[in-house]
């Protein structure tokens, strides 16, 4: 087992999956159709679950495998399914505050920033998955970027879920996951969170015709 744990940080499997995780996050920034964005989010979560699964296989820790399975079901299954249901009803394309090419460029800058800063803090430590941590910080920033630049309520939820995926990746890569009870509780909370958010997206649609937050301007001061 110790041999495998030593092998894991250098493994190309994890690096490849981390690359997929980052690329799907960038896809979310650059796609215009709501349904494509949700699909990218689904692939993003699958990459996350596969990383956790690889860690579980390499370390032989069954509780990581269980939490990988849970996140596959919840993060790659139920949550995108809920979001896709709402995305199908969106007649308009994704609306952004900055143009898509500018957004892509800014996110590229965020990725560079995340990689350089994380390297400085953690260096080349043997006990962590070296490729995952900068990716997780980069995707956290991209998630925040999506939340700030998208005006439609549903796309803001996508940004939030992306941010949460990135924090999960940090948990997996830093410490090979948190205790199982904690991780299961966190996942259930996130699922409940997306359900409540979806409920409010629907109520915004009913009230405003479409769930665009730029129409929410009543409360000031």
């Amino acid at each position: 087992m110790n041999v495998l744990t030593g092998w894991l940080p250098q493994s190309n499997t994890v690096n490849l999956l981390a690359g997929a995780f980052l690329l799907t996050a960038l896809l979310i920034v650059t796609r215009r159709r709501p349904l494509e964005v949700v699909t990218a989010l689904r692939v993003n979560a699958i990459a996350l679950a596969l990383i956790a699964l690889t860690v579980a296989l390499a370390t032989g820790a069954w509780h990581i495998g269980l939490s990988a399975g849970l996140s596959l079901v919840i993060k790659a299954g139920v949550i995108p399914w809920l979001l896709a249901g709402r995305a199908r009803r969106m007649t308009r394309e994704v609306r952004t505050r900055v143009s898509i090419p500018t957004g892509a460029l800014l996110c590229g800058a965020l990725v560079v920033l995340a990689f350089s800063q994380t390297r400085e803090l953690f260096g080349q430590r043997a006990d962590i998955l070296a490729a995952c941590l900068p990716v997780s910080v980069a995707v956290t920033l991209i998630g925040l970027f999506v939340m700030v630049t998208r005006t439609q309520a549903l796309m803001q939820v996508v940004g939030l879920v992306l941010l949460e995926n990135a924090i999960f990746l940090a948990a997996v890569s830093l410490t090979y996951g948190m205790p199982l009870v904690v991780e299961a509780g966190v996942l259930l909370d996130l699922l409940a969170g997306v359900t409540v958010l979806g409920l409010f997206v629907r109520r915004l649609e009913d009230a405003l015709g479409e769930a665009d937050t730029e129409r929410l301007t009543e409360l000031r001061g």
Binding site: L121, M147, L163, V181, V182, V186, A207, L219, G221
Partner: protein, 490 residues
């Protein structure tokens, strides 16, 4: 056996919430809810007495614990829940006539959400595991968002949406803080206590890698800070407290705030040992004083009663966090007393807002004039609220603010205390202006509070607590606060 002591304040409201959802008897629901709240509060007080009298203890294989800080949050949550549920019984009955867009919820859902929120707060108070603490507070956030979006109107929707997004990001950052602290622990001391137990982390803090503790503390400050409405993450506060139904605002601004402050202080305790007191305290003081200052202009130029209360909530929360950063036990004692006394003032203020809305038919401050002449009882309650919010004697907030600032001036960061003092004075002038306008003058036509007299009982109870604690600090309360200080500064 000890686990039962700790779990009773959590389980009793949670069971009542479940019963409210499942029961079909509409008339029985308020009684079931109240029974759950009262028994939960009794359990919370019993737990507090045990934790304060017998010293802190850890139970349930390290998952749960009770110390002075959890006792304080538990007592605030238990007490306010009983008051707000009692008040909500009469308030919800008059609500449909009052607010446009009150579609009326399915029976039992209101009680279940309030009780569920309170159960989450109680669970967060006794969580020794930082992951469990996070789970409890995320649950509280979701329940709060549902309460904020009670009315089916676009302004309530806007408030709920803002609350959900800002608090979700905040709480996600708090999760990142938890992960970082977990890594700092696992990489140095191994999986002892799951690497997330607060008591273990606190004892081993000196061995943790300071760089990660520093990052974790900053993320916790921003994350939990967003949850309690600390500037500059406070944008949701006036909207959410202003648009939620009055009893819900009362519960949010007291119990949930106390739970969030306690979560932040848990991280601060670990950071104090790992990095030395200087660094984390400076950050706490900075965020605290900025919140106090930011609220002042909005307190002076304000046209709505509940938004005024919300901005004063930003100010009070800022003062509590500032107190934790001033660096003396006296200031911290004052700050924790302020957490308690502002809970009495704030819950009184928000519930009173429900009566004023009922009587005047409007949220606006200038529609409530001459309250003393129109209704002596309401006028007196409004006066006590004003005294409590501004921090005038004989209210407990006077005592707590005075202790905080006195502790601050003798500590290492007197400049922060001085800035806070100036801001408090400016905010005081604004509040006094609004209160004089509301209280004095001839009674407005048609100003009648049609709610039953019994609805005022919880308000009077809070008013009595607010004034009594200002005049005389009983030994058990003093012991509770001292033990809470001990928990934050071991």
């Amino acid at each position: 056996m000890t686990a039962l002591w700790v779990l009773a304040p959590v389980l009793l409201p949670a069971l009542a919430a479940g019963a409210c959802l499942l029961l079909r008897h509409r008339s029985a629901m308020p009684r079931v809810a109240l029974a759950g709240a009262v028994s939960g509060a009794v359990a919370a007080f019993a737990l507090a007495m045990r934790a304060v009298g017998g010293g802190p203890f850890v139970t349930a294989a390290g998952w749960l614990h009770a110390d002075g800080l959890s006792a304080l949050v538990s007592v605030i949550g238990g007490g306010v829940l009983v008051a707000t549920l009692l008040h909500a019984r009469s308030y919800l009955a008059v609500l449909p006539a009052l607010e446009p867009g009150d579609g009326g919820w399915a029976p039992g859902r209101w009680e279940a959400t309030m009780l569920g929120l309170a159960a989450c707060v109680q669970l967060s108070a006794v969580s020794n595991n930082l992951g469990l603490l996070w789970i409890a507070l995320e649950g509280a956030t979701l329940a709060s968002a549902v309460l904020v979006g009670y009315y089916r109107r676009t302004d309530a929707l806007e408030a709920a949406w803002k609350y959900l997004l800002l608090c979700s990001v905040g709480i996600a950052l708090a999760l990142f803080a938890t992960v970082l602290l977990h890594y700092a622990a696992v990489s140095r001391i191994g999986e002892v206590g799951g690497g997330l137990e607060w008591t273990t982390l606190r004892d081993a803090a000196a061995a943790l890698d300071p760089r990660f503790v520093r990052l974790a503390f900053l993320f916790a400050l921003v994350g939990w800070g967003a949850k309690i409405g600390l500037a500059p993450m406070h944008a949701w506060v006036p909207d959410a407290y202003g648009r939620a139904p009055a009893p819900a605002s009362a519960l949010l601004s007291t119990a949930v705030t106390a739970a969030g402050v306690a979560a932040l202080l848990r991280f601060a305790t670990v950071a104090r040992t790992a990095l030395g007191p200087e660094w984390p305290e400076r950050w706490l003081a900075l965020f605290g004083v900025v919140s106090v200052v930011v609220a002042v202009p909005f307190l002076v130029a304000q046209s709505e009663y509940k938004r005024l209360l919300a901005w004063s909530s930003v100010k009070h929360t800022g003062l509590v966090v500032l107190a934790a950063g001033l660096g003396t036990p006296l200031a911290l004692f004052g700050g924790l007393l302020h957490l308690l006394s502002q809970s009495a003032a704030k819950s009184l203020g928000f519930m009173l807002g429900g009566h004023l809305l009922r009587a005047s038919g409007s949220h606006r401050l200038d529609h409530c004039q001459g309250v003393l002449a129109a209704d002596r009882g309401l006028g007196t309650l409004l006066l006590v609220t004003g005294i409590g919010l501004t921090g005038l004697p004989p209210s407990a907030t006077f005592l707590s603010q005075w202790l905080t600032l006195a502790g601050g001036f003798t500590g290492p960061r007197p400049v922060f205390a001085a800035v806070a003092l100036i801001a408090l004075a400016a905010g005081f002038l604004g509040l006094v202006f609004h209160w004089v306008c509301m209280l004095t003058g001839p009674a407005r036509e048609g100003f009648t509070d049609a709610m039953p007299r019994s609805a005022r009982a919880p308000l009077w109870a809070m008013a009595v607590v607010l004034v009594a604690l200002g005049v005389w600090l009983p030994a058990p309360v003093r012991a509770l606060l001292e033990s809470a200080v001990q928990a934050v500064r071991p």
